[in-house]
């Protein structure tokens, strides 16, 4: 059975990441950056990806990484869910790295693992695991043409991994950022803005084709879903934490509002949900790390569960902060926007329930 606990090493890793994010990306700084041209902080990325090695955790040492696993990568995802600092983590360290490893793109993976280069996987963020290989980009005459909407972390990516239909079927290509045109999307989620990517006869290098391309695409989505669940867990934990803090410091009618039982019970229910989300997210990370045959079930289970907990936590955070939670100055809205966008990313909870039904043989009507 998968180990659902955190190891001592993982707790050490967590402490390092949290220290870094607390020092370099406090909530006020994260909010302030959403209205500047430098949403992404390159120095923070370097410290996280390269200095702490977060970008190479899931990459074996022989491939230029640190030889840990997706389990440890999930710890970083949890912490980024708490912080909301904008980074290329999901696009580059999770999606592109998972796809690249599966496709055997060793050179690219090595560069990603070092953190010196970032990549994005050119798929809509809302793509559901198990959905068909995308066909909006076509390969012909050695170039790619097509448009992909809502790509995560493409805005600052150095290269893109692009799933495309070639004459002989599905294939995966690498394209330099210079060869594409990018349109910034006004995104619901302020700290993970999306980009529309257009390729017009863009030169591209093949990295996998046929079944290998499909496998890399599927692996990336399942890995993405599992790591996103860790992010949702961290986000929910943080929302619970700051809400409880507020309930302890805010007085109305001469009492801490945290002394009102209706609010206490809501917090208890939320805590119970977060507790369950932790078990579910850990299971998904473990299954993906071990390439367990149950990984597809575990990832969809995690999205079907953690999406709802994260949104609930963020919504309770806004509501129980009262008017304060409705202001731009308080970070609650950043969590709400991320949580809602995450609930759509890689498919909604309801789409994952439908997928689980197929996987566990509970057929539709």
């Amino acid at each position: 059975m998968t180990d659902l606990l955190y190891s001592q090493d993982e707790e050490l890793l967590r402490a390092s990441v949290r220290d870094l994010l607390t020092a370099r990306a406090p909530a006020s700084a994260v909010l302030a950056r959403t209205e500047t041209d430098e949403l992404y902080d390159p120095a923070l990325w370097h410290a996280l990806a390269a200095d702490l090695g977060a970008a190479g955790l899931a990459v074996p040492e022989w491939a230029g990484g640190h030889g840990a696993s997706w389990r440890e990568t999930a710890i970083v995802a949890e912490e980024l869910g708490r912080s909301l600092a904008a980074t290329a983590f999901l696009g580059s360290t999770v999606l592109a790295t998972a796809a690249g490893r599966s496709a055997g793109a060793d050179d690219l993976v090595e560069r990603l693992a070092s953190g010196e280069v970032t990549a994005a996987l050119a798929i809509p963020l809302s793509t559901v695991p198990g959905s068909g290989f995308p066909d909006t980009v076509r390969h012909s005459h050695e170039t790619l043409t097509g448009t992909v909407r809502n790509v995560a972390d493409a805005r600052t990516a150095d290269v893109l991994i692009v799933p495309a239909l070639a004459d002989d079927g599905p294939a995966l290509y690498v394209v330099g950022a210079g060869a594409i045109s990018r349109t910034a999307v006004v995104s619901l989620d302020l700290t993970r803005p999306l980009t529309d990517v257009t390729l017009e006869s863009a030169r591209a290098d093949l990295i996998a084709s046929g079944a290998e391309a499909v496998a890399a695409f599927d692996t990336a989505l399942i890995t993405g879903a599992a790591m996103l669940a860790a992010e949702q867990l961290g986000l929910a934990e943080r929302c619970l934490e700051i809400t409880v803090e507020h309930l302890l410091t805010r007085y109305q009618f001469g009492r801490q509002i945290g002394s009102y039982q209706a609010l206490k019970h809501r917090m208890a229910d939320l805590w119970a949900g977060v507790t369950q989300a932790r078990a579910v997210a850990r299971y998904a990370a473990g299954c993906v790390a071990d390439a367990d045959p149950d990984a597809a079930v575990a990832a969809s289970l995690a999205q079907a569960y953690c999406s709802l907990v994260a949104v609930k936590a963020a919504e309770e955070c806004v509501q129980l902060h009262g008017g304060i939670g409705f202001t731009w100055e308080h970070p609650a809205h950043l969590y709400l926007k991320r949580a809602k966008a995450d609930a759509i990313a890689f498919g909604t909870a309801s789409q994952h329930r439908a997928r689980l039904a197929e996987l566990v043989d509970l057929p539709a009507a």
């Binding site: 006004v186 109305q252 001469g254 009492r255 009262g322 759509i344 909604t348």
Partner: protein, 398 residues
């Protein structure tokens, strides 16, 4: 048809004969006020004729049929709904004559300075100090969540005048000139990116004692008049089936079959049923009001409206999927200058609706406070144990 009704309709015809309803708008409105056809249940000289309140609809219908202008009640809603009844109940003759006419015509817009950063649900905890200085008061403090403060000429404001007595006993209620020195209005940006509301900072603002409403120390009672009228105003019009946000989702469902899934279909119908139940509840409430038997059902309607708006807009984003990840406008350049005066749920993106709906369970009384009120006043369950009733305001934990 009653004699009173005949009389009113005659007066309307006389007004229309003397004043061109398609002519100067303000001139017509002032004449309507002076004819006692503004709010017919008010006394003569104050826009009314001491007629039954229910007959106002007769006047309004005849005027509308003649193409007469309205006083744009949405724009001056706070004045009409909250300031006017308070001035009428607690104001002196002189105060009523000074303020009610331009209030009703819309010459002067009003706003309400009640909530403070530390006093939201617990309004009586407020800390804005008013200290007497001859025949004036000197006011210092901060108010928040003020609609239309940036357009208002006058404000109703509750202050603390005696911090040494329990909180409900040491408040006094004033009318504040928003053009007075020391009044600073700052837009308050909200999670949608825009700023409907304001913060208002009061620094050594001088208010003449002649602008006090009610006795010194009676501010809580005066404020209750204001808030009671706010609650009566909630309820809304008789909307047809599939109105509001459910209409948006239903439209999306009908026009974009590629988004449909079996699970989403049941959820859509669950929300449709909730929306229709809420609509019928509102209709029943209106029938009760029309029958002269208002009930506490308005609280149920507000609770349901808030939850429903939040659930439907959340579902809308899920249904849209990829499109739900996109927003319309966060622009940091425009939010200070382009100020919405009312909520535009339907004209903006689904993401806006989702975010704005979060305010529905906070503004005008949180859903938590509403549940307290229902439990205590409707169901007769015991009140919360109060620790703040006998302690001087200054000694309360904050």
């Amino acid at each position: 048809m009653t004699n009173a009704e005949d009389d009113l309709r005659e007066r309307v015809q006389k007004l229309l004969a003397g004043h061109d309803p398609q002519g100067d708008r303000m001139e017509f409105l002032r004449a309507q006020f002076d004819a006692g056809l503004a709010w017919v249940h008010f006394p003569a000289g104050l826009g009314g004729l001491d007629a039954p309140r229910t007959l106002q609809s007769v006047v309004d219908a005849d005027l509308a049929a003649a193409g007469a202008p309205t006083n744009d009640p949405r724009r001056i809603g706070i004045g009409l709904g909250m300031a006017a009844p308070t001035i009428r109940t607690h104001g002196t003759e002189e105060q009523q004559h000074r303020w009610l006419r331009p209030l009703w015509t819309g010459d002067e817009v009003w706003c309400q300075l009640f909530s403070e950063p530390g006093a939201g649900s617990d309004l009586a905890a407020l800390g804005t100090r008013a200290v007497p200085d001859g025949d004036h008061w000197i006011v210092n403090g901060q108010k928040v969540w003020t609609s239309q403060a940036h357009e208002a000429r006058w404000a109703i404001v509750v202050t603390r005048t005696d911090p040494d007595v329990p909180k409900h006993k040491g408040m006094t209620y004033f009318v504040l000139d928003m053009k007075a020195d020391g009044v600073e209005v700052r837009p308050l940006r909200q999670i949608t990116g825009e700023a409907e509301f304001n913060e208002v900072f009061l620094t050594d603002v001088r208010i003449p004692d002649s602008q006090r409403l009610g006795a010194v120390g009676d501010g809580w009672a005066v404020a209750q008049t204001t808030l009671m009228n706010e609650r009566v105003a909630i309820g809304g019009g008789a909307a047809p089936r599939e109105s509001g946000v459910i209409a948006e989702v239903a439209k999306t469902w009908r026009t974009r079959p590629e988004l449909r899934t079996p699970a989403a279909h049941d959820e859509l119908m669950r929300l449709w049923v909730e929306a229709e139940a809420t609509r019928l509840t509102g209709l029943r409430l209106r029938q009760q009001l029309a029958a002269g038997a208002p009930g506490p059902e308005g609280s149920a309607a507000k609770l349901a409206f808030a939850r429903l708006n939040q659930e439907i807009t959340s579902f809308e984003l899920d249904l849209l999927g990829a499109d739900g990840l996109r927003y319309d406008d966060w622009s940091s350049d425009t939010w200070r200058t382009e100020r919405p005066t009312s909520v535009d749920f339907l004209g903006r993106s689904p993401g806006y609706r989702y975010l704005r709906a979060k305010g529905n369970s906070i503004e005008g009384g949180t859903s938590e406070i509403l549940r307290n009120i229902i439990a205590e006043r409707v169901l007769g369950l015991p009140g919360e144990i109060r620790v703040d009733k006998t302690v001087p305001w200054k000694d309360l934990p904050k």
